[in-house]
Every structure is written in structure tokens, then in C-alpha cells.
């Protein structure tokens, strides 16, 4: 584990990614304590104030400090995307490993159906589910998790097929272990590497998807300082205050880049031979 971390940190992309992630984690943990202003504090004299010493990143249409809103908003953006990815990945991984374990025609039927579900674009699936479950951040998380599961199932299954033919799995079957034991104790631990890599990269999609849902008005609801919502708000005033638009956009992009970098870095660190 430590060795893996060292290998990850040796690569420039891994190093920058981990650094950015640490920054984001700090914002999630201490954002509301460190923010210079309260995120909802209205200051009518400071409407659309340009970035400067009073508001480092400027102020929005109510004179609220954008930096403070970003720092507090990290908590209502990143952890939710993380949870959605985790739930979706776990569900997908179990489907994938289970399908590989069952094998044969059952595997074929499960994966064909899984592929069919993937014909519904992720955003569309999430929108359909949210429109049924009702608007809100919690339901958006469920919707993203469901939208992610089939993709994870496919990735996990291809890794699990190799594991399925390993001797230790055959031995466990010969010992007469139950399906539950073989799937969770023998196969799943041995396909964790591709699952972790894929999930890390997917968190960046989840951040973007969650922000998109909020942007479309079906995710986080005002006056939350969720980043996608902040972009949606700022669009009306982009002539007066383009910084209101650029700051949350940059926050979303940096978060997505951070998870992408760490995911790619992990892949390289786990496969040292592949030099690409």
C-alpha cells in the first residue's frame, strides 16, 4: 500500500492529482470554518464586486462572497459525487463478479441485458430517475449511482472472467464453498485494482453529472452553494460579473481533473510495465 502510494507520487500526474485532492478534501472538511464570510451573507453595497482584497474571487448578484460560497459548497458537491460513485461501483462490481462466477448462458444473458441498459445515456437515465423520485440532492445521488452501475458491471466482469479461471477459485469450488463465499471472498478481492482505478476516474464524471443535474434545476436546490447551481445562477449576470461564472466552473474542472489524474496515475502505478 505504502509502496503503491510512493509509486503514485513519483509520477507528475499522480503527484499533482494527489495534491489537488488534498486541497479539495481540506475544503470539504474545513471549508465552512476557514471561509472569510458566511456563504449566505448578503451585502447590497458589494453586488457584483470585482475580485479584489475584499472578495478575493469577487461577489455575486447579492454581494455574497464567491470564495466563501465555493469553499462551503465543496461539501455539498464532492462528497455526494463520491457517495454516488461508491454505491454505483459496489452494485456494478457485485453484478459483474456474480455474472462471471455464474458463467455460460446466465453470464451471457446478464451481460447482454446490462449492455442494453447502457444504451440509455447516463444523463438521460439520471434525469428519468430524478423526475420520478423527485428533485433534490439525495435523489440525484441515487440516480447517478444507478446510471453508473452497468458500466462498472461491464468493467468488473471482464476482469473477473480471468480470475474465474484461476486455480484458487477452482479449488474453492471443488471444496464445495457457496456462491456467496466465492464471489465475496475469492473473486472480489482479486478484481479490486481495476474497480478502484475505474471508480476513481468515475468520481470525476459523477462530479460533473451532479453539477449538471443541479444546473438543470433537478439536483441540489437553492440557496445551496452547490457548484453547478452557482454556475446556473451566475449565467444570468455574466455580463456584469463573469467571475461569478468562472470561479465555480474552475472548481468543477479542477475537481474532475484531480480525480482523472489520480485514476490515471493509479493505473500506471499498478501496471509499471506499461509505459504509456
Amino acid at each position: 500500500m505504502t509502496e503503491l502510494f510512493i509509486r503514485l507520487m513519483r509520477r507528475p500526474q499522480g503527484f499533482i492529482g494527489v495534491l489537488l485532492l488534498a486541497l479539495i478534501a481540506a475544503a470539504c472538511l474545513f471549508g465552512s470554518a476557514l471561509a472569510p464570510y458566511a456563504p449566505e451573507k448578503i451585502d447590497f453595497l458589494g453586488r457584483f464586486r470585482a475580485p479584489g482584497w475584499q472578495n478575493w474571487l469577487g461577489a455575486d448578484q447579492f454581494g455574497r462572497d464567491i470564495l466563501s460560497r465555493l469553499m462551503v459548497g465543496a461539501r455539498s458537491t464532492v462528497p455526494l459525487a463520491f457517495i454516488a460513485t461508491f454505491v454505483g461501483s459496489a452494485a456494478g462490481a457485485i453484478i459483474g463478479v456474480g455474472s462471471a462466477y455464474l458463467g455460460g448462458r446466465t453470464d451471457e444473458a446478464i451481460m447482454r441485458t446490462n449492455d442494453a441498459v447502457m444504451a440509455i445515456p447516463g444523463l438521460l437515465m439520471a434525469l428519468l430517475l430524478v423526475s420520478t423520485l423527485g428533485n433534490g440532492a439525495g435523489n440525484a445521488v441515487i440516480a447517478i449511482a444507478v446510471a453508473f452501475a452497468p458500466g462498472m458491471a461491464r468493467v468488473t466482469r471482464s476482469a473477473a472472467l480471468n480470475v474465474r479461471n484461476q486455480d484458487y477459485v477452482k479449488a474453492a469450488i471443488a471444496r464445495g464453498e457457496g456462491a456467496h463465499w466465492i464471489i465475496f471472498r475469492e473473486m472480489l478481492p482479486n478484481v479490486m485494482a481495476p474497480i478502484v482505478i475505474e471508480s476513481t476516474i468515475r468520481v470525476s464524471f459523477a462530479v460533473m453529472l451532479f453539477a449538471t443535474l443541479s444546473f438543470l434545476g433537478v439536483g441540489a436546490q437553492p440557496p445551496a452553494s452547490e457548484w453547478g447551481l452557482m454556475v446556473a445562477d451566475a449565467r444570468q449576470y455574466m455580463h456584469q460579473a463573469p467571475w461569478g461564472l468562472i470561479a465555480p466552473s474552475a472548481a468543477i474542472a479542477l475537481t474532475a481533473i484531480a480525480f482523472n489524474l489520480v485514476g490515471d496515475g493509479l493505473r500506471d502505478a499498478l501496471n509499471p510495465k506499461d509505459e504509456r
Partner: protein, 315 residues
């Protein structure tokens, strides 16, 4: 590439559409405890609720509701819009045609930009050009469409006044104006697609350049240009077919946001309007048509791939 393989692939496509239709129907009509209540909202009278329940057949068992709906959909009848009282099918297909114009233009722009850049990055592996291209690719996949769209509109429409910020003009009416209105949305979609295709193109070219037949071609003393264009590029281009087909899925999702932002009356916007006004037949039709478009595109991409690469023998 046997006829049996084609038949199997087509059957898979039909299966996909059936699964999708079941899923869409379940999510929109079966899953809500009372679809009529959620459609009409809080202020509905009991009579209105009863009438709508009867119209949708909500008292029937789920499978019967689905069978009823599926039979109508099969004959091309998606029902009547609850918002406009017009047949949903024709409306959605017109909208789809506008979206396809956007999608196809974006794919063409993507190919024109991404393929040369990807090859260039591979040829200059590890050099400044390569790093630059990789950085752009990272940025492209890390910006959600609504951010790219808004930032591009801020720059090209509001600040520089080069392009109109929103709206749609049919190419049959005024071709020049149509292109000007399409430019921003196409550019937005292309940013992300270019990032995908470029990364793919780069790694494919690297793989091909390391292969034995390229070494053989070089050892035969062929000029580098011939090696690159006649041998390497032709092979590296193949997987692009697949990645573009897979990106159509992304494209169709992204179109929902992009059409909403740029006010293009395509299928994405129609779907968004249907969702916000809870227009059930339109939601079902839009979602099904979108997923079916993806299934059909992917089937044909698979077939094109099998046709282009004769080494692939399925079954």
C-alpha cells in the same frame, strides 16, 4: 462476417430496444406510486385523477400496461402529448432530425481536428507538442458541457460578438445563418469529443508504430511518409469507428444540456421540456427514441468495423 453474425447482431439490437423500452416504461409509469397524482400535481380534483388513471390504464397490472403501450409504440403511435395535445411521435422525430444535424456536424469537426492532433502527439511522444495535446485532452474531459457551453458563449458571443448566442435556423431556410447558429453548440460538443478521440488516436498510433509490420516496412526502406500514411494510419484509424459510436451515447446525453443552453428545438430540449412539465407520453417517446438511436448507431458501427477489418471473425 457471416450472415449468421449479422443476424445475431441485429437480434441483439432488437433485444436492446425491448429492454430499454421496458426500463423507460417502468421508471416513468410503474415506479411512481400514483403516476396520475404525480402528473397532475397537488391541485388535481378526484374526478381529474380518476379520468387520467382510466386513460393511462393505471388500474391494470404492470405487464398489461406495458403490453398496451408497446403495441401502440410498435405501430409508431407514441400517444398524445399532455402539454400540446398533438401526437408525440412526429413531434419527436422532427426534433430528432435537428439534433442529428448538430450531432453529425460535431462528429465531422471532431474527426477533422482530433485525428491529426492525435497522430501528431504520437509522433512527438514525450515532447512539448505531446504534453500540450494531452493537457488539452484532460481539460476537455474535465469540463461538463454546461460549463464549456457557458464559457464559449461568454467569449465568442457576448464578448467578441462573433456568433449568435442562442437560437436555431433551419438549413433549408437560410444556410449561412443556420451554420452561424450551429457553430457554438457544435464547438461545445466537439471539445469533449475531440479529447476522447485524440487520446484514442494517440495510443493507437503508438501501438501501431511499435508493431512488426511497421518495422518491416521501414526495413524495406520505404520512405517515412509512405510508412506513416499507407501503413500506420490506416490501421490506427480503425478503432476510431468504435470510439465514435460509443461517443454517440455521450453525445445524446450531452445534447440534452447543450440544446437547453443554446435554445435548439431538438430532441434533448423536447425531453427536458417534457420532464419539467411532466408530459408522460413525450418523456417515454423521447427517451426511447434516444436510446434506440444509440443502439442502431452502435450496431452499424460494429458492422462497419467487421467489414473494414477482415481479420475479425465473429463465430
Amino acid at each position: 462476417m457471416t450472415p449468421a453474425w449479422f443476424a445475431r447482431r441485429l437480434m441483439l439490437m432488437v433485444y436492446t430496444v425491448i429492454v430499454v423500452s421496458m426500463l423507460v416504461f417502468t421508471i416513468t409509469q410503474i415506479l411512481p406510486a400514483d403516476a396520475a397524482q404525480s402528473l397532475l400535481g397537488e391541485n388535481a380534483t378526484p374526478e381529474m385523477l380518476a379520468a387520467l388513471r382510466a386513460k393511462l390504464g393505471l388500474g391494470d397490472p404492470a405487464w398489461l400496461q406495458y403490453a398496451h403501450w408497446a403495441r401502440h409504440v410498435f405501430t409508431g403511435d407514441f400517444g398524445i402529448s399532455m402539454r400540446t395535445s398533438l401526437p408525440v411521435g412526429p413531434e419527436m422525430l422532427t426534433a430528432l432530425s435537428r439534433s442529428l444535424l448538430l450531432a453529425v456536424s460535431a462528429i465531422l469537426v471532431t474527426l477533422a481536428v482530433a485525428v491529426p492532433l492525435g497522430v501528431l502527439a504520437a509522433l512527438r511522444q514525450g515532447k512539448l507538442t505531446d504534453t500540450g495535446v494531452s493537457l488539452i485532452a484532460y481539460l476537455g474531459v474535465s469540463l461538463p458541457e454546461f460549463v464549456t457551453a457557458t464559457l464559449l458563449a461568454l467569449l465568442l458571443a457576448d464578448t467578441l460578438h462573433w456568433l449568435p448566442a442562442t437560437g436555431y435556423v433551419s438549413p433549408l431556410e437560410d444556410f449561412g445563418d443556420s451554420i452561424r447558429h450551429l457553430a457554438l453548440p457544435v464547438l461545445t460538443v466537439s471539445v469533449i469529443l475531440v479529447a476522447h478521440v485524440m487520446r484514442m488516436m494517440r495510443s493507437e498510433t503508438l501501438d501501431v508504430l511499435k508493431s512488426d509490420y511497421i518495422r518491416a516496412a521501414r526495413l524495406r526502406g520505404l520512405p517515412e511518409r509512405t510508412v506513416l500514411f499507407r501503413h500506420a494510419l490506416r490501421n490506427a484509424l480503425l478503432p476510431v469507428v468504435t470510439i465514435i459510436a460509443l461517443d454517440v451515447g455521450y453525445l445524446l446525453g450531452g445534447i440534452i444540456v447543450i440544446e437547453e443552453i443554446f435554445a435548439i428545438p431538438g430532441i434533448g430540449r423536447a425531453l427536458m421540456v417534457a420532464i419539467t412539465t411532466r408530459d408522460l407520453p413525450s418523456i417515454q417517446a423521447g427517451a426511447l427514441i434516444m436510446a434506440a438511436t444509440y443502439a442502431v448507431t452502435n450496431t452499424f458501427a460494429d458492422m462497419a468495423y467487421a467489414f473494414l477489418d477482415r481479420r475479425i471473425r465473429y463465430d
